[in-house]
Symmetry: C2
Subunit: 242 residues, 2 copies
DNA sequence: CGTCTCGTTGACATAATTCAACATTTGTGG
DNA sequence: CCACAAATGTTGAATTATGTCAACGAGACG
């Protein structure tokens, strides 16, 4: 049934906490399957409930909220190590959809086992809460981007954060990282029109700060980018992996 | 030391789950104090850590994120029943500040006891996670507001959600609810300028949908408001209270 | 009475959207 | 193998939503 947790390639990444032997044993039992899904396919659908929880093992996804008039807001990009579906499990109904942008592999867990986790593995439950809190923190920053940053600042911010995250899971190095999204996806994440996103990317390219072409992102001047983005340049906090 | 959990006025509100006797007993021990704070005072400061967790007992607050250039984004309004400070406790550093808009009373808990909660009260830990997930869900919707809704849609959405929440905790009735914020606060929450927020409020007022004057909000046509806001009009989900 | 803070309104500036056209690539069916 | 359609990225021009500046009124308060 796919990757054994003991051999999980993610665990070694510096983004993640070490796992104790005991935790590892528990995860082995907690993981009940693996979901491989094609690019473009929907993993979870807004308004539905799901009996499954997932951790992204590989590939990129999008979490987005759809309005009644059809417009969509990308809430965040899902990277390897991200945990998905807690809302549906805990609250019953999902407030967003999740879609694969590249082929994805996700570790699957049973919603019913979640209670077992809370009951018998308080440390893992705590980690789950940690993740939820971290997520919320990031959403707060994203909110500040949409509400207070100009288009240039927003795009700079997004490229920076995306690179940081890719790099932290071992997908990026020396400023290079694969980023197989469409400009439309980024536009929907930043609340900008496609055209304006494109022009803003062109501006960042012409200033030699970063470029993003043919699915590859290259950051050439990360300090300047961080300055435009109005963020401190510091390593991402280490987080638990579930 | 202030209100006894057994007599907590919030518990009876329809927004919240029932509590078992056993949960109640635990909460009595979990609550270690009460914080009364003046309007305008800061409860938690971005970038710091805090040994305390809080549940808002009464009053209104703002949670906001400050950018390096001083602009601020209000992340959400804190209503009675909201839980504050999980991030600081769980992650170490806080990504936002919390400020009282009116005089507030908050029930205080010890960060150290949080672990005890996870260890011995998995049901309460689960509730905590429920709250974090619900919060995230709401932030996703807020993100969609800032990213995809026009100024008119945003203001309509905000007034609607604010009223719903006030009403659900017993502060609003028949379309009326107290809302002692400044227009600037709403503007900062919606990512709009003060002037434009004001003009948009005037438009909503002239269309007889809602008005907000002298700290009182009155919704006169909630269906029309919901239509503009692009949301389904449905009751807020019942949530656990901590 | 003067000085704040807050809400209100008009005039003007500008950032971002919309519309439109075109280039490139990719896949597809004839 | 070619012709063609469907995505995606790119660019210019016109339009519009929103922001900025400025002034004023009303109330709170020392």
């Amino acid at each position: 049934m796919g990757v054994d947790c003991r051999r999980c390639p993610l665990r070694k990444r510096r983004l993640f906490d070490e796992m104790t032997e005991e935790e590892l044993r528990f995860m082995l039992g907690f993981k009940t399957g693996e979901l491989s899904i094609a690019a473009g396919a929907t993993v979870l659908l807004q308004g539905t409930s799901s009996p499954q929880l997932f951790t992204v093992l590989s590939g990129l996804g999008l979490r987005y909220h759809t309005l009644e008039n059809g417009r969509r807001q990308v809430i965040n990009i899902l990277f390897p190590g991200d945990f998905v579906g807690l809302q549906a499990s805990v609250m019953g109904e999902l407030g967003h959809s999740v879609e694969a942008v590249t082929p994805m592999v996700l570790c699957a867990f049973q919603r019913n086992d979640l209670w077992r986790l809370f009951r018998h593995h308080p440390d893992r439950a705590y980690d789950l809460t940690w993740i939820a809190a971290a997520d919320r923190q990031f959403l707060g920053e994203t909110l500040a981007s949409l509400g207070q940053r100009s288009a240039l600042e927003r795009v700079a911010w997004a490229l920076l954060r995306i690179y940081q995250r890719l790099e932290a899971v071992g997908l990026g190095d020396k400023g290079f990282a694969p980023l197989p999204l469409r400009q439309q996806d980024l536009a929907d994440a930043l609340g900008l029109s496609l055209v304006h996103t494109n022009k803003t990317l062109a501006k960042i390219r012409s200033r030699q700060l970063a470029r993003w072409q043919d699915g590859e992102l290259y950051i050439s001047d990360i300090e300047a980018l961080a300055e435009i983005a109005l963020v401190e340049l510091e390593p991402l906090p280490v987080r638990p992996l579930i």
